[in-house]
Amino acid sequence: MTDSDEDQADALFHALSDRTRRDILRRVLAGEHSVSALAEKYDMSFAAVQKHVAVLERAGLLVKRRDGRQQMASGDVNAVRSVSAMLADIEQIWRGRISRIDDLLAAPPDDSPR
């Protein structure tokens, strides 16, 4: 696994390590909820629920959109995770290119490949 995969796995497991967050995720996977509607379900402040939502969002488990003054949250595991995983693959290809540029810069000027 690459560092970015590991980072993503860390974020994912961290997000799922909390009971409230797992509960929020179950709700948003079933359908879109406003963050304020979610906050009403728990015996904690709106800000605390908002923080949980943000953790889920960072892990790629939840997406938010704005609807007027409301923040709407939905679980979008497949769409979001797969695109970010694909971009992570492209990232690895680019890292290879960038490190080869660095290599080439360090090579003697008359070093010809073929």
Binding site: A79, S82, I98, R100, D102
Partner: protein, 175 residues
């Protein structure tokens, strides 16, 4: 917006990547790298096909540019050769080219004759270079039209694949 950023302090000085941002809404990847060479030197790599082919494909899939014209409207044709000798063609179509500071181009797949393949994904790219106190900051941006195109790019054409590239980095780090 589904933007993830992970600014990093490179663990190894041979890895000059300083920032990576992915935007899953626009299927865009932006990478920032710092090189300890002046912008003119970095530009040379992209202008000279012999240097470009040394960095474009990993050793397992070396790239050969049979045409390369880094001027506005210029075109490039290249292929990458797999370990089995199979060739995978690609093309670049330059748009704006502003020597030593930036260029934009589309990048797509080519058929056996290195002509653009139909119904294949095309990515839009912008490479820019800025002079810094220690050398050059390069910003690479690639945008794919849709998640489906991104998927296709990975399935069909990015022959060098992540695994080969990681192996390459490991070898470099161990060297």
């Amino acid at each position: 917006m589904n933007i993830t950023a992970h600014p990093t302090t490179p663990k190894d000085p041979t890895m000059p990547v300083t920032d990576v941002q992915t935007d899953t809404d626009t299927n865009t990847l932006t990478m920032t790298a710092e090189f300890t060479a002046p912008v003119e030197r970095i530009w040379q790599i992209y202008a000279d096909p012999r240097q470009l082919e040394r960095v474009w494909g990993p050793p397992e899939y070396p790239a050969t540019f049979v045409e390369h014209d880094l001027t506005p409207g210029g075109r490039s044709k290249y292929y990458m050769t797999s370990p089995d000798g199979e060739r995978f063609g690609g093309w670049w179509q330059m748009q704006s080219v502003d020597p030593t500071s930036s260029f934009t181009f589309t990048d797509g797949f080519a058929d056996a004759d290195l002509n653009p393949a139909e119904d294949m994904p095309v990515s839009t790219n912008r490479y820019s270079f800025k002079s810094t106190a220690t050398g050059t900051r390069a910003i690479y941006t690639s945008t794919f039209a849709s998640a489906e195109e991104l998927q296709k790019v990975l399935e069909m054409g990015m022959v060098e694949g992540a695994t080969a590239t990681i192996g390459q980095i490991d070898a470099l780090v161990a060297a």
